[in-house]
Symmetry: C2
Subunit: 228 residues, 2 copies
């Protein structure tokens, strides 16, 4: 029998075509929902990156999320991420599509920094907590924060919003797991800060990356429409 690869060589599909077919499948199989067209762009890509249709049930967005996020991306705001997987996954090309000056250096992650590791050893608390503290000054005024892993980092951001006057332009609130995760999201989502998040236990780097990519696409589309 012919291998799948050989069949694929005979009638290759471009990545854009594969994505289009995938999105059509998701649209067809997704449960009924009340997301707006723009919101569905985000949720659909989350499902695309996980094959987990349950995400449609748990995704939450603040009413101001789309406006605030597209403004932030259009003006090249810096982004804090809670893992180097997220930094690796966020495409510079997609960021540049909405703000040509974006570079990978504008995505900050401090969890693997030596000083952060030393502080964590000293305090007995997770590196993710010391890492986000380190990013505070650069991100405090309208930065974006993107969490796919650490509920402790999200908790610390909530504290910085409450106590230190940190004002994010967007928070992607998608830590994953079983300890402090649900609680950290519930607390954060009550603060009145623009966010795209997932309530409950689901989350992860891939979903968080896909959200940033969707927001870039939405920002590009909004810009096009405003220029017509």
């Amino acid at each position: 029998m012919k291998s799948l690869a050989r069949s694929f060589y005979d009638s290759p599909m471009r990545p854009e075509k594969i994505e289009e077919l995938s999105f059509a499948t998701i649209d067809r199989e997704a449960p009924a929902h009340n997301f707006s067209e723009e919101e569905w762009i985000i949720v659909r890509r989350m499902i695309h990156s996980t094959a987990n249709f349950e995400l449609a049930k748990y995704t939450r967005m603040s009413p101001d999320a789309m406006e605030s996020a597209t403004n932030a991306l259009s003006s090249g705001k810096h982004i804090y991420v809670d893992s180097n997987m997220l930094k690796a996954g966020i495409s510079a090309a997609r960021l540049k599509s909405i703000f040509p000056g974006y570079t990978k250096d504008m995505i900050h992650c401090h969890v693997a920094d030596a000083d952060v590791a030393a502080e964590a050893k000293e305090s007995g608390m997770p590196r993710s907590l010391h890492a986000i503290r380190k990013a505070k000054d650069k991100l405090a005024d309208g930065g974006m924060f993107c969490f796919g892993n650490s509920p402790v980092a999200l908790m610390e951001l909530s504290r910085m919003i409450l106590e230190d006057g940190v004002k994010p332009s967007l928070v992607v609130a998608m830590p994953v797991g079983f300890v402090n995760v649900v609680e950290s999201k519930d607390e954060f989502m009550s603060l009145g800060v623009p966010f795209v998040g997932i309530s409950g236990r689901f989350g992860g780097s891939s979903i968080a990356v896909s959200t940033i990519h969707s927001l870039c696409a939405i920002a590009v589309e909004r810009k096009k429409n405003s220029e017509q």
Copy 2:
């Protein structure tokens, strides 16, 4: 009301403790299964990284997977990965725990290489296909392959196994999505190569990373036991 972060400062938890509590929750809530103790280490960490208990239904391992993977890791075999997120996510410290000579440079990813992009433009086929071809010579004899994204790369690996004599010591077969994904896994899993995989549509970088980390822990444990 006191913020969660302030409560956490008052009674901080070390990361090891958080992980232990998470694993206990997963053990308690997981559906009945027939995984061996070592296999469950892998599946449990997959659930830990996604909060998706469905993975217990879809995870498959070849009978020789554990033996072959732990031997490969213990002797420092090179690893091919299908995304830079995977490369960023795999911990050098965990690899070094079983083979001190491991470095990040022994994890290969070619999807973002300029020559691969040029070939893909020329052929109209995905970069992931040209990327894995580029890795062939270095990985052909007992290398490990780790897929969390691209079914086309997995299809091409199956072809290389069938036609070119490529002999992986382990394949982590977890591409995710809706086009060619189920088929590429079914084909690959029939080839008699050692693997840990997920049948169906589920997959992703985080789960694939977690599998490599679990295999490192299992290899360390086996080594300890063999030395007693």
